[in-house]
């Protein structure tokens, strides 16, 4: 299988072509190492999707589809990937803060971060401060990501950062916030390390932190 072509097809969101290539590949009984390379090629394709998004050629709808395509691709590859641990570039705890039930943006960031090699612990929507504290204690992540679509999420994000401070956990993690209402001013007020309304940029910022 031509890995470059695979990467390119993922980047261009050619679903049929990607699945056909991968099905043929799996039928050829590849080794675990070869399968690992195929996974990497798909992930590179996702990175390309992120770049096109940042350039303004793709939009949120395309990111959503890309996430689905990647999940499908990995499902096809599963039987041949084996159990070999893939190296994790870092760990992220992710959730929608209390008072807000929205998760489309959060899920997009999740699938892009996973494609970039992060282990993501997604705790879901409308999550109280204590839930963030508990999971941070448990998995000791590098990064905490908070999401929200409603303006009221900004105060909830502040509560959550304050909660992490009180629990003595704030200095052990980087905090990034995302979602429609976040701004530079809000980021300062909340006491997060960074903010974005762009999931691809969020992945780059996270990568910068775990280098």
């Amino acid at each position: 299988m031509n890995l470059k072509e695979l990467t390119q097809s993922v980047g261009e969101l050619e679903e049929e072509k990607v699945l056909e290539m991968l099905n043929n590949f799996v039928a050829s009984n590849p080794s675990e190492e070869e399968a690992g390379k195929a996974v990497a090629a798909c992930q590179e394709g996702m990175a390309e999707v992120g770049d096109l998004f940042e350039k303004g050629e793709y939009f949120v709808g395309d990111l959503i589809f890309a996430g689905e395509l990647l999940t499908e691709a990995i499902n096809v590859l599963k039987p041949v990937i084996g159990s070999g641990d893939t190296t994790k570039v870092g760990t992220i705890v992710l959730g929608t803060v209390h008072g807000d039930l929205h998760d489309i943006g959060k899920n997009i960031f999740k699938s892009m971060a996973e494609a970039a090699g992060f282990e993501v612990h997604d705790i879901g929507i409308d999550q109280p401060v204590q839930a963030f504290i508990d999971i941070v204690k448990e998995v000791k992540p590098n990064i905490v990501g908070m999401s929200g679509v409603l303006t009221l999420a900004l105060e909830a994000m502040k509560d959550t950062v304050d909660g992490l401070k009180e629990a003595g956990l704030r200095d052990s993690v980087k905090v990034i916030i995302g979602g429609n209402p976040v701004t530079k001013e809000a980021c300062l007020h909340i006491g997060a390390d960074s903010f974005t309304t762009n999931a691809a940029e969020g992945v780059k910022i996270s990568q910068g932190w775990v280098k």
Partner: protein, 380 residues
């Protein structure tokens, strides 16, 4: 100048007739939940308490210096509860919200396209409202209960709105009914935000046909006997900013344009809530029939004024989040900046970029200060 309901109504009528009004009209949008919290009552109780809705309407009318009562009811908890709503649920703090949910599977396009209204009753409603997912007899009973509750509650709300407008000398409500862009209708609660994003790649022809199929239904929803330039058809716009322009052109625009033209042809005047950032699509918006009101969330006010402000009524763009934490002076400075750009030449109504739904969204004192400022400063 002493202002009363009549002079306030005249501000809007002037704008609707393409004349320059005496001053910039001020139109604040609040979900009733904002007003409940302002009044100090708990959302988790107050949203059930229909008797007290009247008090909330009165507080909305007298408190915020808006020319139109900001109090808007859209999500009615008793009705949702009777129906077992899955699509609008209360968060831990009492704000009713919409979790991502799918009322229609991708395999159902043909059935939906054949008769969208029938499909809505047969399939969508039972998926969105679990108490309708039962025997036909029980379903009819639950539907009847919810219908009666909805009609009683809204009947009270509308009547009291009129009364309060009279009592406090406010302009009439500007929204007469609501509809939705055909593509957004197929997206929001049918296929969902995520579902539609895959469908436009997997079954593009069906998506186009689906948008065409729902258009007559959306047009009907947007035309009422009382429709007029002063009683507008509200249309919140959702998916376009999340699409590529070539997808927008193919899937979104044709039926949206047909809807807007159809509304005008039938005597209804649209009030678009242009949510998120439509900078890429301003030239399209300018193609719509003149006098369409557009409330923008984001974008460069200068560019928007230049591109669509001559033909259409522009509103919005004032950042609600500033009102939450900004000082009074900062908030007023921002209002001055925006009014200076958008008011010249008329065709402008002062509104914020987002609906205030929770007391954390905006400090009420800042809202009042800014609205008072615009009324004084925005004199032509």
């Amino acid at each position: 100048m002493v202002e009363n309901a009549q002079s306030k109504n005249q501000l809007f009528i002037d704008i609707d007739e393409g004349k320059i009004p005496k001053r910039v009209p001020v139109y604040t949008w609040m979900d009733i939940t904002y007003i409940m919290q302002y009044a100090g009552v708990d959302l988790r109780k107050a949203q059930w308490d229909v008797d007290k809705f009247k008090d909330m309407i009165e507080i909305g009318a007298k408190s915020f210096q808006s020319d139109i009562n900001p109090a808007t009811f859209t999500r009615i908890q008793p009705v949702y509860n009777i129906l077992g709503a899955q699509n609008f649920v209360m968060s831990s703090e009492g704000q009713i919200q919409h979790p991502e949910i799918t009322g229609m599977g991708p395999e159902d396009y043909d059935e939906m396209i054949a008769d969208p209204y029938k499909y809505t009753h047969d399939k969508i409603l039972p998926r969105l409202y679990k108490n309708l997912d039962t025997t036909p007899e029980e379903k009819a009973k639950v539907f009847a209960k919810a219908f009666k509750a909805h009609s009683d509650i809204f009947g009270q709300i509308f009547a009291h709105h009129d009364l309060m407008n009279e009592k406090y000398g406010l302009a009439n409500d500007r929204v007469g009914c609501q509809t939705v862009a055909p593509f957004d209708q197929v997206a929001d609660q049918f296929r969902s935000f995520t579902g539609i994003s895959s469908d436009i790649r997997r079954c593009p022809d069906k998506v186009v046909a689906a948008c065409e199929a729902v258009t007559p239904m959306m047009l009907k929803a947007g035309v009422k006997p009382h429709s007029s330039r002063q009683k507008r058809t509200f249309i919140p716009l959702h998916m376009a900013p999340y699409m590529r322009e070539k997808d927008f052109e193919k899937f979104y625009w044709p039926t949206f344009k047909a809807l807007i033209e159809g509304l005008w042809e039938n005597g209804a005047a649209p009030l678009l809530f242009v949510e998120q950032d439509w900078t890429r699509y301003l030239d399209y918006l300018n193609e719509l029939p003149a006098g369409t009101q557009m409330m923008f969330e984001y974008g460069d006010p200068k560019v928007i004024k230049e591109k669509v402000g001559k033909k259409h009524i522009v509103t919005g763009l004032y950042p609600l989040t500033l009102l939450a934490r900004g000082t009074k002076q900062e908030c007023i400075d921002k209002a001055k900046e925006i009014v200076d750009i958008l008011a010249p030449g008329g065709n402008y109504i002062f509104t914020f970029d987002k609906v205030a739904i929770n007391i954390k969204d905006a400090n009420p004192e800042n809202i009042i200060a800014v609205n008072e400022f615009v009324k004084e400063y925005g004199v032509y």
